[in-house]
Symmetry: C2
Subunit: 115 residues, 2 copies
């Protein structure tokens, strides 16, 4: 296994970091630029504040998202992508190309199977 | 969101398909060539037969793994990668490059934090 997907560990780490219902959604919004907490909440629409905090903390711990606070009253918190978050974009685009193709095929197969 | 990660749905589908503890491990073995069920079980080492069957069925349903049975006694079952499974390899290599780099940074940060 040394020469084939040698860093299984790292791959699983990424799947773990990006897995779940909201992480990719959050990233897809942050690729447009930094956002305040409330803006993220509004744009996602169906996420609870508690869950959004948790997901953002995970992304921050992984070094993908950067959290900046401003000494305003009330305090302002802004989220943006780190350099690693930005370099993830072309990688996700590559996965996406493959994914769109695969999903289309799976959908077609399922349609045929239910006819 | 239309122009940024436009197929979130497909990306989430891939994370779902490849998520979990075993899928990438199974793929990493099948990238070396087809394997019988027992061979896969032995090479992974710590997976239960029931779980291995489930994971292989998921990969088969996603069109990534191909299952072939031979009319021997007892019946022989061989698993190999489909064309889509094979085209996934360079995509995973790309994710891997980014993942190795990120994981290293996260590990270094954690080491510094526990000093």
């Amino acid at each position: 296994m040394e020469n084939c997907l040698p860093n299984l560990d790292s791959l699983q780490f990424v799947l773990h970091v990006l897995g779940g219902k909201w992480k990719l959604h959050i990233l897809s919004i942050l690729y447009f630029g930094k956002k305040r907490f409330k803006e993220l909440e509004r744009e996602i629409g169906t996420i609870s504040p508690k869950m959004l905090i948790k997901e953002l903390k995970d992304l921050e711990a992984a070094g993908i998202v950067y959290r900046q606070t401003f000494n305003t009253v009330p305090i302002t918190v802004e989220y943006s992508l780190t350099e690693d978050g930005l370099t993830l974009k072309p990688v996700l685009d590559h996965v996406n190309e493959w994914a769109v193709h695969l999903k289309q095929k799976v959908n077609n197969r399922n349609k045929r199977a239910t006819r």
